[in-house]
Subunit: 324 residues, 2 copies
Amino acid sequence: MIRIGILGYGNLGRGVEKAVNASPDMELKAVFTRRDPSTLKIATAGVPVYAEADAEKMKDEIDVLILCGGSATDLPTQGPKYAKMFNTIDSFDTHAKIPEYFPAVDAAAKEGNNVSVISVGWDPGMFSLQRLLGNCILPDGKDYTFWGRGVSQGHSDAIRRIEGVQDARQYTVPVPEAIEAVRAGKNPELSTREKHTRECFVVAKEGADLKKIEEEIVNMPNYFADYNTTVTFISQEELNEKHSGIPHGGFVIRSGATGDMKHIIEYSLKLDSNPEFTSSVLVAYARAAYKLASEGKSGAMTVFDIAPAYLSPLSGEELRKTLL
Amino acid sequence: MIRIGILGYGNLGRGVEKAVNASPDMELKAVFTRRDPSTLKIATAGVPVYAEADAEKMKDEIDVLILCGGSATDLPTQGPKYAKMFNTIDSFDTHAKIPEYFPAVDAAAKEGNNVSVISVGWDPGMFSLQRLLGNCILPDGKDYTFWGRGVSQGHSDAIRRIEGVQDARQYTVPVPEAIEAVRAGKNPELSTREKHTRECFVVAKEGADLKKIEEEIVNMPNYFADYNTTVTFISQEELNEKHSGIPHGGFVIRSGATGDMKHIIEYSLKLDSNPEFTSSVLVAYARAAYKLASEGKSGAMTVFDIAPAYLSPLSGEELRKTLL
Protein backbone atom coordinates (compact mmCIF):
# COMPACT_ATOMS: atom_id res chain seq x y z
CA MET A 1 0.00 0.00 0.00
CA ILE A 2 1.20 3.48 -0.90
CA ARG A 3 0.80 5.69 2.16
CA ILE A 4 -0.53 9.13 1.26
CA GLY A 5 -0.56 12.36 3.27
CA ILE A 6 -2.65 15.40 2.36
CA LEU A 7 -1.51 18.93 3.19
CA GLY A 8 -4.43 21.37 3.07
CA TYR A 9 -8.06 20.36 3.27
CA GLY A 10 -9.93 22.62 0.86
CA ASN A 11 -11.70 21.54 -2.33
CA LEU A 12 -8.52 19.95 -3.68
CA GLY A 13 -7.64 18.16 -0.45
CA ARG A 14 -11.14 16.71 -0.21
CA GLY A 15 -10.88 15.56 -3.84
CA VAL A 16 -7.54 13.88 -3.15
CA GLU A 17 -9.06 12.11 -0.16
CA LYS A 18 -11.85 10.75 -2.39
CA ALA A 19 -9.41 9.66 -5.10
CA VAL A 20 -7.06 7.95 -2.64
CA ASN A 21 -9.96 6.05 -1.12
CA ALA A 22 -10.94 4.90 -4.63
CA SER A 23 -7.44 3.52 -5.29
CA PRO A 24 -7.01 -0.05 -4.04
CA ASP A 25 -3.22 0.29 -3.81
CA MET A 26 -3.31 3.42 -1.62
CA GLU A 27 -4.03 4.28 1.96
CA LEU A 28 -4.73 7.74 3.41
CA LYS A 29 -2.38 8.07 6.37
CA ALA A 30 -2.92 11.63 7.60
CA VAL A 31 -4.31 15.07 6.80
CA PHE A 32 -2.29 18.15 7.79
CA THR A 33 -3.96 21.51 8.24
CA ARG A 34 -3.15 25.07 9.22
CA ARG A 35 -6.44 25.22 11.08
CA ASP A 36 -6.80 23.89 14.61
CA PRO A 37 -6.80 20.12 13.89
CA SER A 38 -9.44 19.49 16.53
CA THR A 39 -11.93 21.60 14.56
CA LEU A 40 -11.46 19.77 11.25
CA LYS A 41 -13.83 16.91 10.46
CA ILE A 42 -12.67 14.91 7.44
CA ALA A 43 -14.72 12.46 5.38
CA THR A 44 -12.68 9.33 6.07
CA ALA A 45 -13.24 7.66 9.41
CA GLY A 46 -10.16 6.74 11.41
CA VAL A 47 -7.67 8.96 9.61
CA PRO A 48 -5.91 11.40 11.93
CA VAL A 49 -5.74 15.15 11.36
CA TYR A 50 -2.58 16.94 12.49
CA ALA A 51 -1.29 20.49 12.57
CA GLU A 52 0.90 21.33 9.60
CA ALA A 53 3.80 21.88 12.00
CA ASP A 54 3.70 18.18 12.88
CA ALA A 55 4.14 16.96 9.31
CA GLU A 56 7.89 16.43 9.61
CA LYS A 57 7.37 13.94 12.42
CA MET A 58 5.43 11.72 9.99
CA LYS A 59 8.31 11.63 7.49
CA ASP A 60 8.76 7.87 7.75
CA GLU A 61 5.10 6.97 7.78
CA ILE A 62 4.11 8.70 4.55
CA ASP A 63 5.30 7.71 1.06
CA VAL A 64 3.90 10.70 -0.82
CA LEU A 65 2.64 14.03 0.51
CA ILE A 66 0.14 15.71 -1.78
CA LEU A 67 0.30 19.48 -1.48
CA CYS A 68 -3.20 20.88 -1.86
CA GLY A 69 -2.45 24.55 -1.27
CA GLY A 70 -2.78 27.41 -3.72
CA SER A 71 -0.20 28.60 -6.22
CA ALA A 72 -0.23 32.26 -5.22
CA THR A 73 1.05 32.10 -1.66
CA ASP A 74 1.13 28.49 -0.34
CA LEU A 75 3.12 26.48 -2.87
CA PRO A 76 6.04 28.85 -3.49
CA THR A 77 7.15 28.14 0.10
CA GLN A 78 5.50 24.73 0.72
CA GLY A 79 6.87 23.16 -2.48
CA PRO A 80 10.58 23.47 -1.69
CA LYS A 81 10.02 23.03 2.07
CA TYR A 82 8.25 19.68 1.84
CA ALA A 83 10.29 18.37 -1.10
CA LYS A 84 13.15 18.11 1.42
CA MET A 85 11.11 15.79 3.65
CA PHE A 86 8.72 13.89 1.39
CA ASN A 87 8.04 12.74 -2.13
CA THR A 88 5.53 15.41 -3.14
CA ILE A 89 2.94 16.22 -5.77
CA ASP A 90 1.54 19.68 -6.36
CA SER A 91 -0.65 21.55 -8.81
CA PHE A 92 1.44 24.73 -9.12
CA ASP A 93 -0.28 26.54 -11.97
CA THR A 94 1.29 30.00 -12.24
CA HIS A 95 2.74 29.29 -15.70
CA ALA A 96 4.97 32.36 -15.70
CA LYS A 97 6.68 31.34 -12.45
CA ILE A 98 7.33 27.68 -13.29
CA PRO A 99 10.86 28.48 -14.56
CA GLU A 100 11.83 29.64 -11.05
CA TYR A 101 9.65 27.22 -9.07
CA PHE A 102 11.03 24.09 -10.77
CA PRO A 103 14.71 24.60 -9.83
CA ALA A 104 13.76 25.59 -6.24
CA VAL A 105 11.81 22.34 -5.78
CA ASP A 106 14.44 20.36 -7.69
CA ALA A 107 17.25 21.41 -5.37
CA ALA A 108 15.18 20.63 -2.28
CA ALA A 109 14.02 17.25 -3.59
CA LYS A 110 17.57 16.24 -4.48
CA GLU A 111 18.76 17.31 -1.04
CA GLY A 112 16.10 15.14 0.57
CA ASN A 113 16.53 12.33 -1.98
CA ASN A 114 12.85 12.64 -2.91
CA VAL A 115 10.79 12.79 -6.09
CA SER A 116 8.63 15.92 -6.43
CA VAL A 117 6.23 16.20 -9.33
CA ILE A 118 5.16 19.78 -9.86
CA SER A 119 2.35 21.42 -11.87
CA VAL A 120 0.14 18.33 -12.05
CA GLY A 121 -3.54 18.59 -12.96
CA TRP A 122 -5.19 19.28 -16.27
CA ASP A 123 -3.71 22.66 -17.22
CA PRO A 124 -0.86 22.52 -16.48
CA GLY A 125 -0.89 18.72 -16.63
CA MET A 126 -2.89 16.68 -19.09
CA PHE A 127 -3.30 19.63 -21.47
CA SER A 128 0.46 20.24 -21.37
CA LEU A 129 1.07 16.57 -22.18
CA GLN A 130 -1.26 16.78 -25.18
CA ARG A 131 0.40 19.98 -26.40
CA LEU A 132 3.79 18.27 -26.17
CA LEU A 133 2.62 15.15 -28.02
CA GLY A 134 0.93 17.20 -30.73
CA ASN A 135 4.04 19.32 -31.27
CA CYS A 136 6.34 16.30 -31.48
CA ILE A 137 4.15 14.29 -33.85
CA LEU A 138 3.16 17.16 -36.12
CA PRO A 139 6.03 19.68 -35.99
CA ASP A 140 4.43 21.58 -38.87
CA GLY A 141 1.28 22.80 -37.14
CA LYS A 142 -0.46 25.13 -34.75
CA ASP A 143 -1.64 24.70 -31.16
CA TYR A 144 -5.00 25.82 -29.84
CA THR A 145 -6.11 25.63 -26.22
CA PHE A 146 -9.67 26.56 -25.27
CA TRP A 147 -10.96 26.54 -21.70
CA GLY A 148 -14.51 25.93 -20.57
CA ARG A 149 -17.37 25.94 -20.28
CA GLY A 150 -16.36 26.23 -16.68
CA VAL A 151 -16.15 28.27 -13.52
CA SER A 152 -13.14 30.51 -13.08
CA GLN A 153 -12.54 31.03 -9.38
CA GLY A 154 -10.19 33.96 -9.99
CA HIS A 155 -12.70 35.82 -12.13
CA SER A 156 -15.55 35.12 -9.71
CA ASP A 157 -13.42 36.52 -6.89
CA ALA A 158 -12.62 39.63 -8.93
CA ILE A 159 -16.32 40.34 -9.34
CA ARG A 160 -16.99 39.78 -5.65
CA ARG A 161 -14.47 42.51 -4.80
CA ILE A 162 -16.60 45.14 -6.61
CA GLU A 163 -18.60 47.48 -4.37
CA GLY A 164 -22.25 46.49 -4.17
CA VAL A 165 -21.65 42.82 -5.12
CA GLN A 166 -22.78 40.22 -2.65
CA ASP A 167 -21.86 37.07 -4.57
CA ALA A 168 -20.86 36.07 -8.12
CA ARG A 169 -20.00 33.20 -10.37
CA GLN A 170 -18.09 33.57 -13.65
CA TYR A 171 -18.08 31.05 -16.50
CA THR A 172 -15.38 30.98 -19.17
CA VAL A 173 -16.94 29.82 -22.44
CA PRO A 174 -15.09 28.90 -25.63
CA VAL A 175 -16.54 30.48 -28.79
CA PRO A 176 -18.10 27.62 -30.81
CA GLU A 177 -17.26 29.23 -34.18
CA ALA A 178 -13.60 29.45 -33.20
CA ILE A 179 -13.47 25.77 -32.27
CA GLU A 180 -15.21 24.81 -35.50
CA ALA A 181 -12.74 26.82 -37.60
CA VAL A 182 -9.83 25.11 -35.85
CA ARG A 183 -11.39 21.64 -36.23
CA ALA A 184 -11.89 22.33 -39.93
CA GLY A 185 -8.13 22.82 -40.29
CA LYS A 186 -8.42 26.52 -41.15
CA ASN A 187 -5.63 27.48 -38.72
CA PRO A 188 -7.21 30.83 -37.83
CA GLU A 189 -5.34 33.58 -35.99
CA LEU A 190 -7.64 34.17 -33.02
CA SER A 191 -7.64 37.20 -30.75
CA THR A 192 -8.44 36.84 -27.05
CA ARG A 193 -11.95 38.11 -27.78
CA GLU A 194 -12.49 35.59 -30.56
CA LYS A 195 -11.54 32.59 -28.43
CA HIS A 196 -13.59 32.93 -25.25
CA THR A 197 -16.59 34.78 -23.86
CA ARG A 198 -17.23 35.41 -20.17
CA GLU A 199 -20.63 34.90 -18.52
CA CYS A 200 -21.11 36.51 -15.14
CA PHE A 201 -23.94 35.72 -12.73
CA VAL A 202 -24.04 38.38 -10.06
CA VAL A 203 -26.00 38.83 -6.84
CA ALA A 204 -26.14 42.57 -6.01
CA LYS A 205 -26.52 43.93 -2.51
CA GLU A 206 -29.80 45.67 -1.81
CA GLY A 207 -29.89 49.14 -3.29
CA ALA A 208 -26.68 48.68 -5.27
CA ASP A 209 -26.23 50.47 -8.59
CA LEU A 210 -26.55 47.63 -11.11
CA LYS A 211 -25.53 49.74 -14.07
CA LYS A 212 -22.31 50.74 -12.29
CA ILE A 213 -21.51 47.14 -11.30
CA GLU A 214 -21.95 45.96 -14.88
CA GLU A 215 -19.72 48.77 -16.18
CA GLU A 216 -17.02 47.93 -13.68
CA ILE A 217 -17.09 44.26 -14.62
CA VAL A 218 -16.99 44.55 -18.40
CA ASN A 219 -14.24 47.20 -18.31
CA MET A 220 -12.02 45.49 -15.72
CA PRO A 221 -8.53 45.29 -17.28
CA ASN A 222 -6.96 41.80 -17.75
CA TYR A 223 -10.01 40.04 -16.37
CA PHE A 224 -12.85 41.19 -18.65
CA ALA A 225 -11.97 44.18 -20.85
CA ASP A 226 -10.54 42.00 -23.66
CA TYR A 227 -13.58 39.70 -23.78
CA ASN A 228 -17.21 39.83 -24.76
CA THR A 229 -18.71 39.69 -21.31
CA THR A 230 -22.33 39.26 -20.30
CA VAL A 231 -23.60 40.17 -16.85
CA THR A 232 -26.81 38.68 -15.47
CA PHE A 233 -28.15 39.74 -12.10
CA ILE A 234 -29.83 36.95 -10.18
CA SER A 235 -30.91 36.26 -6.61
CA GLN A 236 -28.71 34.54 -4.04
CA GLU A 237 -31.18 31.64 -4.08
CA GLU A 238 -30.84 31.18 -7.82
CA LEU A 239 -27.05 31.39 -7.59
CA ASN A 240 -26.99 28.77 -4.85
CA GLU A 241 -29.39 26.53 -6.72
CA LYS A 242 -28.06 26.71 -10.28
CA HIS A 243 -24.44 27.77 -9.92
CA SER A 244 -23.03 25.97 -6.91
CA GLY A 245 -21.07 23.39 -8.92
CA ILE A 246 -17.48 23.82 -10.07
CA PRO A 247 -17.60 22.30 -13.56
CA HIS A 248 -14.83 22.94 -16.06
CA GLY A 249 -13.13 21.51 -19.10
CA GLY A 250 -11.64 22.55 -22.37
CA PHE A 251 -9.96 21.56 -25.59
CA VAL A 252 -6.39 21.17 -26.83
CA ILE A 253 -6.24 20.97 -30.59
CA ARG A 254 -3.17 20.44 -32.74
CA SER A 255 -3.84 21.31 -36.34
CA GLY A 256 -0.94 20.05 -38.39
CA ALA A 257 0.14 18.86 -41.78
CA THR A 258 2.50 16.45 -43.49
CA GLY A 259 3.01 18.15 -46.83
CA ASP A 260 -0.49 18.73 -48.22
CA MET A 261 -2.12 16.18 -45.92
CA LYS A 262 -3.92 17.76 -42.95
CA HIS A 263 -4.32 16.16 -39.55
CA ILE A 264 -6.32 17.25 -36.52
CA ILE A 265 -5.56 15.94 -33.03
CA GLU A 266 -8.13 16.94 -30.44
CA TYR A 267 -8.16 16.31 -26.69
CA SER A 268 -11.08 17.49 -24.62
CA LEU A 269 -12.29 17.35 -21.06
CA LYS A 270 -15.83 17.78 -19.78
CA LEU A 271 -15.69 17.79 -15.99
CA ASP A 272 -18.50 17.96 -13.45
CA SER A 273 -15.97 18.94 -10.79
CA ASN A 274 -12.75 20.73 -11.60
CA PRO A 275 -11.12 20.07 -8.19
CA GLU A 276 -12.14 16.39 -8.12
CA PHE A 277 -10.69 15.74 -11.58
CA THR A 278 -7.51 17.65 -10.73
CA SER A 279 -7.23 15.59 -7.55
CA SER A 280 -7.57 12.38 -9.55
CA VAL A 281 -4.62 13.41 -11.71
CA LEU A 282 -2.59 14.30 -8.61
CA VAL A 283 -3.25 10.88 -7.12
CA ALA A 284 -2.23 9.03 -10.32
CA TYR A 285 1.07 10.96 -10.29
CA ALA A 286 1.50 10.18 -6.57
CA ARG A 287 1.68 6.52 -7.62
CA ALA A 288 4.32 7.43 -10.20
CA ALA A 289 6.35 9.42 -7.66
CA TYR A 290 6.28 6.49 -5.27
CA LYS A 291 7.51 4.05 -7.93
CA LEU A 292 10.19 6.42 -9.22
CA ALA A 293 11.46 7.08 -5.70
CA SER A 294 11.53 3.33 -5.05
CA GLU A 295 13.85 3.05 -8.07
CA GLY A 296 16.19 5.57 -6.48
CA LYS A 297 15.24 8.57 -8.60
CA SER A 298 15.14 12.05 -7.07
CA GLY A 299 14.53 15.65 -8.04
CA ALA A 300 11.70 17.72 -9.47
CA MET A 301 9.74 16.42 -12.45
CA THR A 302 6.72 17.39 -14.49
CA VAL A 303 4.25 15.31 -16.49
CA PHE A 304 6.77 15.55 -19.36
CA ASP A 305 9.36 13.55 -17.45
CA ILE A 306 7.33 10.53 -16.39
CA ALA A 307 6.68 7.45 -18.51
CA PRO A 308 2.91 6.80 -18.53
CA ALA A 309 3.26 3.23 -17.20
CA TYR A 310 4.32 4.66 -13.83
CA LEU A 311 0.79 6.02 -13.35
CA SER A 312 -0.76 2.58 -13.38
CA PRO A 313 -1.00 -0.08 -10.69
CA LEU A 314 -0.72 -2.73 -13.44
CA SER A 315 2.52 -4.41 -14.59
CA GLY A 316 4.05 -3.74 -18.00
CA GLU A 317 2.85 -7.15 -19.15
CA GLU A 318 -0.73 -6.48 -18.02
CA LEU A 319 -0.71 -3.05 -19.62
CA ARG A 320 0.51 -4.39 -22.97
CA LYS A 321 -2.13 -7.10 -22.85
CA THR A 322 -5.10 -4.96 -21.88
CA LEU A 323 -4.50 -1.38 -23.03
CA LEU A 324 -1.91 -1.35 -25.84
CA MET B 1 21.87 14.96 -36.27
CA ILE B 2 20.06 11.70 -35.65
CA ARG B 3 20.84 9.35 -38.54
CA ILE B 4 17.77 7.42 -39.66
CA GLY B 5 17.48 4.30 -41.82
CA ILE B 6 14.24 3.10 -43.38
CA LEU B 7 13.55 -0.59 -43.98
CA GLY B 8 10.76 -1.07 -46.51
CA TYR B 9 9.59 1.60 -48.92
CA GLY B 10 5.81 1.27 -49.10
CA ASN B 11 3.26 3.83 -47.90
CA LEU B 12 4.75 3.81 -44.42
CA GLY B 13 8.36 4.07 -45.60
CA ARG B 14 7.50 7.02 -47.82
CA GLY B 15 5.70 8.67 -44.91
CA VAL B 16 8.72 8.18 -42.66
CA GLU B 17 10.96 9.71 -45.32
CA LYS B 18 8.71 12.80 -45.41
CA ALA B 19 8.61 13.09 -41.61
CA VAL B 20 12.38 12.69 -41.25
CA ASN B 21 12.94 15.40 -43.84
CA ALA B 22 10.61 17.68 -41.86
CA SER B 23 12.65 17.16 -38.66
CA PRO B 24 15.56 19.60 -38.35
CA ASP B 25 17.46 17.30 -35.96
CA MET B 26 17.32 14.24 -38.26
CA GLU B 27 18.99 13.05 -41.40
CA LEU B 28 17.87 10.23 -43.69
CA LYS B 29 20.94 8.04 -44.15
CA ALA B 30 19.69 5.10 -46.23
CA VAL B 31 16.66 3.18 -47.45
CA PHE B 32 16.76 -0.63 -47.46
CA THR B 33 14.51 -2.65 -49.72
CA ARG B 34 13.77 -6.23 -50.67
CA ARG B 35 13.33 -5.10 -54.26
CA ASP B 36 16.28 -4.66 -56.62
CA PRO B 37 17.72 -1.38 -55.22
CA SER B 38 18.55 -0.14 -58.70
CA THR B 39 14.83 -0.13 -59.59
CA LEU B 40 13.74 1.94 -56.57
CA LYS B 41 13.48 5.70 -56.98
CA ILE B 42 12.98 7.47 -53.65
CA ALA B 43 11.77 11.02 -53.08
CA THR B 44 14.90 12.39 -51.38
CA ALA B 45 17.80 13.28 -53.66
CA GLY B 46 21.20 11.96 -52.68
CA VAL B 47 20.07 9.28 -50.23
CA PRO B 48 21.32 5.80 -51.18
CA VAL B 49 19.07 2.76 -51.58
CA TYR B 50 20.51 -0.62 -50.56
CA ALA B 51 19.38 -4.22 -50.57
CA GLU B 52 17.98 -5.34 -47.22
CA ALA B 53 20.82 -7.85 -46.97
CA ASP B 54 23.29 -4.95 -46.76
CA ALA B 55 21.66 -3.35 -43.73
CA GLU B 56 24.04 -4.91 -41.22
CA LYS B 57 27.03 -3.26 -42.90
CA MET B 58 25.49 0.15 -42.08
CA LYS B 59 25.25 -0.66 -38.34
CA ASP B 60 27.60 2.12 -37.33
CA GLU B 61 26.23 4.75 -39.66
CA ILE B 62 22.61 4.61 -38.56
CA ASP B 63 21.29 5.64 -35.15
CA VAL B 64 17.76 4.34 -35.54
CA LEU B 65 16.32 1.93 -38.10
CA ILE B 66 12.60 2.41 -38.68
CA LEU B 67 10.95 -0.87 -39.69
CA CYS B 68 8.21 -0.13 -42.18
CA GLY B 69 7.12 -3.69 -42.96
CA GLY B 70 3.76 -5.29 -42.19
CA SER B 71 2.72 -6.98 -38.98
CA ALA B 72 1.51 -10.23 -40.55
CA THR B 73 4.72 -11.60 -42.03
CA ASP B 74 7.51 -8.97 -42.01
CA LEU B 75 7.81 -7.74 -38.44
CA PRO B 76 7.64 -11.07 -36.57
CA THR B 77 11.06 -11.90 -38.07
CA GLN B 78 12.40 -8.41 -38.82
CA GLY B 79 11.65 -7.06 -35.32
CA PRO B 80 13.94 -9.40 -33.35
CA LYS B 81 16.49 -9.64 -36.21
CA TYR B 82 17.15 -5.92 -36.47
CA ALA B 83 16.81 -5.21 -32.74
CA LYS B 84 20.13 -7.05 -32.40
CA MET B 85 21.86 -4.62 -34.79
CA PHE B 86 20.06 -1.28 -34.45
CA ASN B 87 17.87 0.84 -32.26
CA THR B 88 14.53 0.18 -33.94
CA ILE B 89 10.98 1.50 -34.14
CA ASP B 90 8.09 -0.51 -35.55
CA SER B 91 4.33 -0.34 -35.86
CA PHE B 92 3.52 -3.95 -34.95
CA ASP B 93 -0.26 -3.88 -34.62
CA THR B 94 -1.42 -7.47 -34.17
CA HIS B 95 -2.74 -6.81 -30.67
CA ALA B 96 -3.20 -10.49 -29.84
CA LYS B 97 0.45 -11.31 -30.61
CA ILE B 98 2.08 -8.42 -28.73
CA PRO B 99 2.56 -10.62 -25.61
CA GLU B 100 4.89 -12.90 -27.59
CA TYR B 101 6.41 -10.24 -29.87
CA PHE B 102 7.54 -8.00 -27.02
CA PRO B 103 9.78 -10.54 -25.22
CA ALA B 104 11.30 -11.70 -28.55
CA VAL B 105 12.29 -8.13 -29.45
CA ASP B 106 13.30 -7.40 -25.85
CA ALA B 107 15.79 -10.28 -25.72
CA ALA B 108 17.30 -9.31 -29.09
CA ALA B 109 17.55 -5.61 -28.19
CA LYS B 110 19.23 -6.39 -24.88
CA GLU B 111 21.68 -8.71 -26.65
CA GLY B 112 22.57 -5.91 -29.07
CA ASN B 113 22.45 -3.22 -26.38
CA ASN B 114 19.80 -1.36 -28.37
CA VAL B 115 16.49 0.32 -27.67
CA SER B 116 13.55 -1.05 -29.70
CA VAL B 117 10.19 0.64 -29.45
CA ILE B 118 7.41 -1.64 -30.69
CA SER B 119 3.78 -1.06 -31.64
CA VAL B 120 4.14 2.67 -32.34
CA GLY B 121 1.52 4.58 -34.33
CA TRP B 122 -1.97 5.65 -33.38
CA ASP B 123 -3.63 2.34 -32.51
CA PRO B 124 -1.60 0.79 -31.02
CA GLY B 125 0.23 3.94 -30.04
CA MET B 126 -1.42 7.27 -29.26
CA PHE B 127 -4.80 5.62 -28.62
CA SER B 128 -3.15 3.16 -26.22
CA LEU B 129 -1.52 6.04 -24.37
CA GLN B 130 -4.88 7.79 -24.00
CA ARG B 131 -6.54 4.58 -22.79
CA LEU B 132 -3.79 4.20 -20.18
CA LEU B 133 -4.06 7.82 -18.99
CA GLY B 134 -7.86 7.62 -18.83
CA ASN B 135 -7.75 4.41 -16.80
CA CYS B 136 -5.18 5.78 -14.34
CA ILE B 137 -6.89 9.13 -13.78
CA LEU B 138 -10.45 7.81 -13.60
CA PRO B 139 -10.21 4.23 -12.30
CA ASP B 140 -13.99 4.16 -11.90
CA GLY B 141 -15.01 4.36 -15.54
CA LYS B 142 -15.43 2.78 -18.93
CA ASP B 143 -13.30 2.88 -22.10
CA TYR B 144 -14.65 3.39 -25.57
CA THR B 145 -12.61 3.26 -28.76
CA PHE B 146 -14.22 4.11 -32.11
CA TRP B 147 -12.37 3.95 -35.42
CA GLY B 148 -13.05 6.00 -38.51
CA ARG B 149 -14.32 7.40 -40.68
CA GLY B 150 -11.46 5.78 -42.52
CA VAL B 151 -10.23 3.24 -45.01
CA SER B 152 -9.57 -0.26 -43.74
CA GLN B 153 -6.96 -1.87 -45.97
CA GLY B 154 -7.71 -5.36 -44.64
CA HIS B 155 -11.42 -5.09 -45.35
CA SER B 156 -10.80 -3.59 -48.80
CA ASP B 157 -8.49 -6.52 -49.57
CA ALA B 158 -11.10 -9.02 -48.37
CA ILE B 159 -13.63 -7.59 -50.83
CA ARG B 160 -11.12 -7.67 -53.69
CA ARG B 161 -10.66 -11.41 -53.17
CA ILE B 162 -14.34 -12.05 -54.02
CA GLU B 163 -14.99 -13.47 -57.47
CA GLY B 164 -16.19 -10.83 -59.91
CA VAL B 165 -14.65 -7.91 -57.97
CA GLN B 166 -12.16 -5.76 -59.81
CA ASP B 167 -11.43 -3.17 -57.12
CA ALA B 168 -12.87 -2.03 -53.80
CA ARG B 169 -12.51 0.43 -50.99
CA GLN B 170 -14.02 -0.06 -47.52
CA TYR B 171 -14.68 2.67 -44.96
CA THR B 172 -15.15 1.97 -41.27
CA VAL B 173 -17.60 4.49 -39.84
CA PRO B 174 -18.41 5.06 -36.17
CA VAL B 175 -22.13 5.25 -35.40
CA PRO B 176 -22.84 8.90 -34.41
CA GLU B 177 -25.60 7.96 -31.95
CA ALA B 178 -23.19 5.64 -30.12
CA ILE B 179 -20.57 8.37 -29.78
CA GLU B 180 -23.21 10.83 -28.57
CA ALA B 181 -24.46 8.41 -25.93
CA VAL B 182 -20.89 7.90 -24.68
CA ARG B 183 -20.16 11.65 -24.66
CA ALA B 184 -23.33 12.21 -22.67
CA GLY B 185 -21.94 9.95 -19.95
CA LYS B 186 -24.60 7.28 -20.45
CA ASN B 187 -22.00 4.46 -20.38
CA PRO B 188 -23.91 2.30 -22.87
CA GLU B 189 -23.11 -1.36 -23.48
CA LEU B 190 -22.50 -1.37 -27.23
CA SER B 191 -22.48 -4.39 -29.50
CA THR B 192 -20.14 -4.56 -32.50
CA ARG B 193 -23.07 -3.61 -34.74
CA GLU B 194 -23.98 -0.61 -32.60
CA LYS B 195 -20.46 0.85 -32.67
CA HIS B 196 -19.47 0.88 -36.35
CA THR B 197 -20.97 0.58 -39.80
CA ARG B 198 -19.06 -0.49 -42.90
CA GLU B 199 -19.37 1.28 -46.27
CA CYS B 200 -18.09 -0.62 -49.30
CA PHE B 201 -17.43 0.94 -52.71
CA VAL B 202 -17.00 -1.84 -55.23
CA VAL B 203 -15.98 -1.98 -58.90
CA ALA B 204 -17.40 -5.17 -60.44
CA LYS B 205 -15.86 -6.92 -63.40
CA GLU B 206 -17.93 -6.81 -66.56
CA GLY B 207 -20.80 -9.30 -66.45
CA ALA B 208 -20.32 -10.10 -62.76
CA ASP B 209 -23.33 -11.03 -60.61
CA LEU B 210 -23.77 -7.91 -58.45
CA LYS B 211 -26.40 -9.49 -56.24
CA LYS B 212 -24.06 -12.36 -55.44
CA ILE B 213 -21.10 -10.07 -54.71
CA GLU B 214 -23.21 -8.01 -52.32
CA GLU B 215 -24.43 -11.16 -50.54
CA GLU B 216 -20.90 -12.45 -50.18
CA ILE B 217 -19.70 -9.18 -48.71
CA VAL B 218 -22.43 -8.57 -46.14
CA ASN B 219 -22.33 -12.17 -44.92
CA MET B 220 -18.55 -12.53 -44.72
CA PRO B 221 -17.76 -13.78 -41.20
CA ASN B 222 -15.51 -11.64 -38.96
CA TYR B 223 -15.18 -8.94 -41.61
CA PHE B 224 -18.78 -7.87 -42.28
CA ALA B 225 -21.40 -10.27 -40.88
CA ASP B 226 -21.52 -8.54 -37.48
CA TYR B 227 -21.95 -5.04 -38.94
CA ASN B 228 -24.52 -3.05 -40.81
CA THR B 229 -22.80 -2.98 -44.19
CA THR B 230 -23.70 -0.99 -47.28
CA VAL B 231 -22.41 -1.93 -50.72
CA THR B 232 -22.32 0.64 -53.53
CA PHE B 233 -21.19 -0.36 -57.02
CA ILE B 234 -19.26 2.36 -58.81
CA SER B 235 -16.98 2.63 -61.83
CA GLN B 236 -13.20 2.30 -61.64
CA GLU B 237 -12.97 5.96 -62.66
CA GLU B 238 -15.16 7.06 -59.76
CA LEU B 239 -13.21 4.89 -57.34
CA ASN B 240 -9.93 6.36 -58.54
CA GLU B 241 -11.26 9.87 -58.39
CA LYS B 242 -13.16 9.88 -55.09
CA HIS B 243 -11.63 7.07 -53.08
CA SER B 244 -7.91 7.09 -53.71
CA GLY B 245 -6.96 8.69 -50.39
CA ILE B 246 -6.19 6.77 -47.20
CA PRO B 247 -7.90 8.91 -44.55
CA HIS B 248 -8.57 7.56 -41.08
CA GLY B 249 -9.07 8.58 -37.49
CA GLY B 250 -11.12 7.72 -34.48
CA PHE B 251 -12.02 8.45 -30.89
CA VAL B 252 -10.87 7.23 -27.49
CA ILE B 253 -13.30 8.21 -24.77
CA ARG B 254 -12.97 7.58 -21.06
CA SER B 255 -16.26 8.05 -19.28
CA GLY B 256 -15.57 8.08 -15.58
CA ALA B 257 -16.77 9.30 -12.25
CA THR B 258 -15.53 10.47 -8.88
CA GLY B 259 -18.46 9.62 -6.66
CA ASP B 260 -21.49 11.27 -8.27
CA MET B 261 -19.40 13.68 -10.36
CA LYS B 262 -19.06 12.59 -14.00
CA HIS B 263 -16.06 13.32 -16.20
CA ILE B 264 -15.54 12.72 -19.91
CA ILE B 265 -12.05 12.59 -21.45
CA GLU B 266 -12.07 12.45 -25.24
CA TYR B 267 -9.17 12.11 -27.66
CA SER B 268 -9.80 12.15 -31.36
CA LEU B 269 -7.86 12.05 -34.60
CA LYS B 270 -8.98 13.20 -38.03
CA LEU B 271 -6.27 12.23 -40.49
CA ASP B 272 -6.03 12.93 -44.21
CA SER B 273 -3.43 10.18 -44.51
CA ASN B 274 -3.28 7.23 -42.15
CA PRO B 275 0.26 6.13 -43.18
CA GLU B 276 1.69 9.65 -43.05
CA PHE B 277 0.36 10.27 -39.56
CA THR B 278 1.55 6.86 -38.38
CA SER B 279 4.97 7.66 -39.84
CA SER B 280 5.05 10.96 -37.97
CA VAL B 281 4.51 9.09 -34.71
CA LEU B 282 7.23 6.58 -35.61
CA VAL B 283 9.70 9.39 -36.26
CA ALA B 284 8.94 11.14 -32.94
CA TYR B 285 9.62 7.85 -31.15
CA ALA B 286 12.82 7.38 -33.17
CA ARG B 287 14.08 10.55 -31.46
CA ALA B 288 13.14 9.04 -28.10
CA ALA B 289 14.90 5.76 -28.89
CA TYR B 290 18.04 7.63 -29.87
CA LYS B 291 18.05 9.64 -26.63
CA LEU B 292 17.30 6.61 -24.45
CA ALA B 293 20.05 4.57 -26.12
CA SER B 294 22.46 7.49 -25.62
CA GLU B 295 21.68 7.24 -21.89
CA GLY B 296 22.66 3.58 -21.94
CA LYS B 297 19.15 2.11 -21.88
CA SER B 298 18.38 -1.07 -23.80
CA GLY B 299 15.54 -3.51 -24.44
CA ALA B 300 12.05 -3.41 -25.92
CA MET B 301 9.67 -0.62 -24.95
CA THR B 302 6.24 0.63 -25.88
CA VAL B 303 4.67 4.09 -25.73
CA PHE B 304 3.83 3.28 -22.10
CA ASP B 305 7.50 3.13 -21.12
CA ILE B 306 8.75 6.42 -22.54
CA ALA B 307 8.54 9.79 -20.81
CA PRO B 308 6.97 12.28 -23.26
CA ALA B 309 9.91 14.72 -23.07
CA TYR B 310 12.05 12.19 -24.97
CA LEU B 311 9.90 12.77 -28.07
CA SER B 312 10.88 16.41 -28.31
CA PRO B 313 14.01 18.09 -29.66
CA LEU B 314 13.59 20.78 -26.97
CA SER B 315 15.29 20.78 -23.56
CA GLY B 316 13.36 20.24 -20.34
CA GLU B 317 13.71 23.93 -19.57
CA GLU B 318 12.35 24.97 -22.98
CA LEU B 319 9.47 22.50 -22.68
CA ARG B 320 8.46 23.79 -19.25
CA LYS B 321 8.60 27.36 -20.50
CA THR B 322 6.68 26.89 -23.74
CA LEU B 323 4.33 23.91 -23.40
CA LEU B 324 3.67 23.23 -19.70
